[in-house]
């Protein structure tokens, strides 16, 4: 049984001008110990999908269809009290932007302590605090720095502290939303290494939301490419992105464009033209493929028919008319 099974999930935002479907019939599966990377450009539904698992969606968002099954338990439709029991203990979320997710006027150890004590009121203060120090060790911050304020930490340390906090109640699934954004490359590398280590050492499953293909490649076994609220391609990371700068098996033109936009250090020196245009307006109905307007390989059928998901090789799925053996 998978740890997390998302089936046909749709999420709508209620806006003043109408309804916007941010996540449209998305299915996703995370096995125990698996790490899945979700990529896509801004506004494609990555974060919304991530927030839906612990049901932390904004007030104007509703799950309009589908199911989320975490550890055998259906999450959609649970009431707030039941959900909050699962949060942090089964699934924890590492919020985007550590500085803004920490309370600037409260010491970091206090904030982690609060996380433990709110969830496990029966744990004594001493035990809880011992765990706080343990967590600091786990993420590689000296426990002597525990009594610091967030502003006394560097960006990388703040992100570590956020990861430490998310691990406070020993979750089995960690969802990290852009964990390396706004960090320098050295800190980025350290955070990514930390996440990989934690995953193997603590037997954690990981969903990493990012627009950084290199980061995903480094940490995740599987990659899910989202565009305009739908999954356009998913598969084993090495297979889809290519092994060690080698050829990739990416099929969807959007995935290809993402890979091209990310020049390889060891590759040929080419200046690629970026992808022109914008993702479609999701508050309007779209016929055919959502990527058709920007697709360099667009065909007639793309404008009229929604491409079905096609399995190319075990685990590698793409939703594109090009994937079909007999286009047209």
């Amino acid at each position: 049984m998978s740890l997390l099974e998302i089936n046909d999930l749709s999420i709508d935002y209620k806006l003043s001008k109408g309804v916007l479907r941010a996540v449209d019939h998305v299915s996703l599966c995370v096995e125990l110990g698996d790490s899945v990377g979700i990529v896509g450009e801004s506004g494609c539904g990555k974060t919304t999908l991530g927030l839906a698992v612990p049901m932390l969606l904004p007030e104007n968002a509703t799950v309009s269809g589908g199911s989320i099954v975490l550890d055998g338990q259906q999450i959609v439709g649970l009431d707030e009290a039941e959900i909050s029991r699962l949060r942090w203990t089964s699934v924890a979320f590492v919020f985007q932007g550590a500085m803004n997710a920490l309370n600037p006027v409260q010491r970091v150890d206090r904030q982690i302590l609060e996380a433990i004590r709110t969830h496990e009121p029966e744990t004594s203060k001493q035990d809880a605090y011992a765990r706080v120090l343990e967590l600091f060790n786990l993420v590689g911050i000296s426990p002597s720095r525990a009594k610091s304020y967030p502003h006394e930490f560097s960006g990388g340390m703040r992100q570590r502290a956020m990861i430490a906090m998310s691990l406070a109640c020993r979750p089995s699934l960690l969802i990290a939303d852009e964990p390396t954004t706004a960090l320098d490359v050295i800190s980025q590398a350290q955070i990514l290494t930390l996440l990989s280590e934690l995953r193997h050492r603590e037997g954690l499953s990981l969903i990493m939301i990012s627009h950084d293909l290199a980061a995903i490649k480094r940490v995740c076994d599987r990659i899910v490419v989202m565009y305009a609220g739908v999954v356009v391609e998913s598969g084993p990371t090495e297979h889809v992105l290519g092994r060690g700068g080698g050829p990739n098996a990416a099929l969807h033109p959007y995935t290809k464009a993402l890979i091209r936009a990310h020049p390889d250090l060891r590759g040929e020196r080419v200046l690629e033209e970026g992808l022109q245009g914008h993702p479609p307006d999701l508050s309007e109905p779209i016929s055919g493929c959502r990527f058709a307007d920007r697709c360099p390989e667009v065909m007639d059928i793309c404008r009229t028919q929604t491409p079905p998901a096609v399995t190319l090789s075990p685990g590698h799925i793409a939703a594109c008319h090009l994937a079909r053996k007999d286009p047209q």
Partner: protein, 303 residues
């Protein structure tokens, strides 16, 4: 990675208060010319008001016995002269300062608790609660405050408690507005979502996570409201709406004015409470503006 160190010892000292102001705020105020002047003046005024009456106790019954002791110019026995009833001006001044400060502090506490509370609730919940509360705030904001205070004071009596209430209930809207706008931006931070995901109640989020973040703003506002309240009390008392038994600086001015001290040339009677009010209000304003400069993120860049 290293082993856990200091597990037992670490929790022993964790009873320290969670909320501490940014270190060095007072040092920065002190470094500011305006702030330093204010702090020194304020220290002097508070010292005089709080310690003075102990050294020179005032008895309201100690009237003068002859016409010569009425409106006497400063002498060796009456350093600041006497009142129209032959009372010692200095002693009355020292005690009166306490009343002025007391009313100012009471009114400020009422105004700050109301303003910060409403601002917090309004900004945190947003939506219709915000709309309703802010329309009420706007209503109070556009009311001409002094005439309102005069009417209320005339209606409800003249004890210092009533005066404090009346001033407090009319000086909160500005604070509410300022706090609300800051809370509106704080509530959108991932911090709030994170704490809410922990299962923290609204009250706890507001009290433990938002309030400490607006505390500096509240504090800077408090000092400014305080000087306004002292001034309002003086104005009320001067107009004869002060407590006649509890003589404040405003009441002294009122008495001086009514007894014709001005035309008698009894400058000591008018000047003493007048200068007292000006200096105290000025001291609070200087400190308040300086604090605002140090604590207000919008103004911090321009130093």
């Amino acid at each position: 990675m290293s082993n856990i160190v200091n597990v037992g010892g670490a929790s022993a000292s964790d009873e320290r208060p969670t909320v501490t102001r940014r270190p060095g705020v007072w040092r920065e105020v002190w470094r500011d010319d305006m702030g330093r002047t204010g702090l020194i003046t304020l220290g002097a005024v508070l010292f005089i008001i709080l310690v003075g009456p102990i050294i020179f106790p005032f008895q309201s019954q100690s009237f003068g016995t002859s016409s010569a002791s009425i409106l006497q110019a400063p002498t060796a026995s009456h350093w600041m002269g006497t009142t129209e009833l032959g009372q010692d001006v200095l002693r009355q001044f020292l005690v009166g300062g306490r009343i002025s400060l007391y009313v100012g502090v009471m009114a400020t506490l009422i105004a700050i608790v109301l303003g910060a509370g409403l601002g917090l609730v309004s900004g945190y919940y947003a939506g219709w609660r915000d709309t309703v509360l802010m329309r009420v705030t706007d209503f109070f904001l556009v009311l001409p405050t002094l005439p309102l205070i005069i009417v209320l004071a005339a209606l409800f009596g003249q004890s210092i408690l009533i005066t404090s209430l009346v001033i407090g209930l009319t000086s909160w809207p500005q604070t509410a507005r300022i706090i609300r706008s800051q809370v509106l931006s704080l509530r959108e931070r991932p911090l709030v979502l994170r704490v809410r995901s922990l299962g923290a109640s609204d009250l706890r989020i507001m009290g433990k996570h938002i309030l400490p973040n607006v505390a500096p703003l509240i504090f800077a506002n408090l000092v400014l409201v305080l000087s306004g309240s002292i001034l309002a009390q003086a104005a009320l008392a001067f107009l004869g709406l002060g407590d006649p038994v509890q003589v404040s600086w405003g009441t002294m001015l009122h008495n001086a004015f009514n007894s014709g001290a001005m035309s008698e040339g009894a400058w000591w009677y008018v000047l003493t409470p007048g200068v007292g009010i000006v200096v105290m209000v000025l001291a609070f304003s200087l400190v308040g503006h300086s604090l605002d400069r140090v604590l207000n993120p919008l103004r911090r860049g321009g130093r």
